[in-house]
Structure formats: C-alpha cells, structure tokens
Symmetry: C2
Subunit: 201 residues, 2 copies
C-alpha cells in the first residue's frame, strides 16, 4: 500500500478523493489527510494563481513528511468580477473560511448584474509532488451561472449559488457522486490518476 | 453663457469641474449640478464598463433636461483583483456609497498580497452628450500602489489608500489643485475641454 498525503484537513475533500480513486479503480494507494501526519509549518497561500498555490502546498507537504503529496487550490471565477474571487475565494469577505459571508458578498456585488452576465466557473488546480522533487499540476474547470438565492445543503463554499451549465439544480443540490462526475475538482483529480497509479507501482 | 449640466449631486465633483474649466481658461460655460434642474428618473448603473455607464448617464440627463450634459463613471482597478472593483467600486462591500466599508474590504482582500503586487489604477470615463444626440466619451487613468493603512482626509472613495506613482503621499493627502493636475478625472475632463469650448461657441 502506497501512502499518499492529501494536504488538507477538509474531511469532505478527503472523502471526495477516496471516492474518485475507487471509481477509477485505483488500488494500492491509501490516502491520508494532514491530521494523520505530524504537524509541520504551513506557508500562507499568497500565489497569484491556483496553480502556484497548489504546487507550493504539495511541495511543502511532500518535503515535510517524506510522502507523495497532493494539494489543491480551488475557487470560483465570476465573469462579471473579471475572474475574481479566484485565488481569494476563501477570504473574499475578508474573513477567511466564512463561506456564508463570502457567498453573500458575491451576491451583493452582483445585485445589479443582469442574468445574461452572471456566468462563472469553478476552477481547481491540483498538484502532486513527490519527496524526490517530481511535480505535476493539472486544472479542472466547471462552467455555470450564479443564481440570486442560495439553494441546497450539500457541498460548501459557493455551491449554493452555482448552477452548472446544463443543470437546473445548484451544485449544493447535487448528490456527491453526481458532483464528482462533473466538478472542477473531479476533473482535476482524475487527471492525476495515472500519476497515482504509477506511484503505486 | 452656455449652461452645461454635470449629471452628479456630488459637490466635490462640481467644484472639481469648475476648477478645471477655470484653469483651462474656458469661458462662457456655466456648470450646474443635478440639484439645479428639475428631478428626472435616473437609471441604475448596470453597464459592464465605465464608458457604458458614463454615456448612458450623460445621454439620459441631456434628454431629460435639454441641456448639454457631462457624466462620469469612475473607480479603482486593482491589479491583484483582475481590475476589480472597477465599475462596482461604489458598492464593492455590497453597501452602495459606503466609502469606508468599500476601502476596508479591499484592504482585507489584499492582506496577503505582497507589496510588489499591490498596483492599481484610478479610472474615469467622462461623457458629454448634447440634446441633439451628439456623444463623446473619453478616459483617464492614474496609476499607483495601494498601501495597507489609510492616510489623509482630502478626497473620497479609495483616495486614502492610493499612492500615485512618483508620489509618497496618498491621493487623500494631496491638495485639490495637485490632485486635479494628476488625477484620472482631471485627465478625462481636460479631454472634454475642446468640446466644451465648441459648445460655448
């Protein structure tokens, strides 16, 4: 069994990666989260791109633990905000990790933006770094539209206001397996599957 | 004396335009504000660009009053926010016209953004529309850097955190005449001077 570290404390992300590896029939890989390894100093995410942040986080985690490490940086790119909140998605309101405040601020900023200009994309950069210094970074995008009223209790972040193209439910109203099949994070993580298989030998 | 309407209720903007016309030796033009004309319904600013908003405002004002009308739409374009707050500058925090909340939100969003990536530009689009349907729109930009702590009591909006390139004071620490000579609004309004002279005959 090859242990791979997912550089996250988010149990939902851990579940998601495990579900994806199962669905892709990847065997021989055991995914552990940051809670399963000794603590190490984590650098703040100050990159200008999702890719920069994901690579830095994976690299630091691999170097600190000696395990191959996966890290992601994700967010929402709103057309009428020129692609922001982007890398600032988690702290858009100024309060890091306050999902509700972040979502409500985006809704308030878009109050006067008409329906035809409410496009957005969820974006995920996922990086895999090995202790020997090999680095891979991939990107997934999921396009949709922002509604005016939050709906749904699954998911997190901006899920309750994002209706994927071709869907009528918000991504917070999708079942986890439905979301995995479509989502930016699913798209990105599946691109890492071949690399993970190679690690498992 | 040709009366020209500045489609604004902001006394500082009115003073500014009058100072600029004086400095440019434009005679025969009397600038009045919205408070000097009968009220008319004003459309919300929903354009995707400063130019769109300025032209729409000037056009509506000229049509409603029968006077040549000037309107501006201005804001700050922050590099690390992909050019936002942009047209949403006045309502960035979700509370329209709350200068302090807007400025504090930008500072909070930029907390982890290092000094070398804190560039920004004040942008002004100024439009002149005549009752006969002639429309002109011009643009002024003023580049600088955003500091972390507000300074200065002149100006408004984002002035207290904007240090113009080549300066050490914030634009809220500049005297009105100094600001006129450099600012986005000064640059834009001076481009309208020839048009205003033509109106004055």
């Amino acid at each position: 069994m090859t242990r791979v570290l997912l550089a996250s404390r988010n149990a939902k992300k851990l579940d998601e990666l495990r579900r994806i590896l199962l669905a892709e029939h990847v065997s021989g890989v055991e995914v552990v989260g940051l809670d399963a390894v000794p603590a190490f100093p984590e650098a703040p995410e100050t990159g200008a791109t999702f890719e920069e942040n994901a690579v830095a986080k994976a690299r630091d985690a691999a170097a600190a633990t000696g395990l191959p490490a996966i890290a992601d940086d994700s967010g929402i790119a709103v057309d009428a905000l020129n692609g922001m909140p982007g890398v600032l998605s988690a702290r858009w309101s100024g309060r890091h990790g306050d999902d509700l405040a972040n979502l409500e601020l985006v809704l308030a900023q878009l109050t006067d933006v008409p329906d035809e200009r409410r496009g957005a994309a969820f974006v995920c950069a996922a990086a895999l770094a090995t202790p020997s210094g090999r680095e891979t970074v991939v990107r997934g995008e999921w396009r949709g539209t922002l509604v005016r009223t939050p709906r749904g209790a699954n998911g997190f972040g901006y899920d309750p206001i994002f209706v994927p193209d071709g869907a009528s439910r918000t991504s917070a109203e999708l079942e986890p397996a439905e979301k995995d099949a479509l989502s930016h994070r699913g798209i990105a993580l599946r691109q890492l599957v071949t690399h993970l298989r190679a690690l498992a030998g």
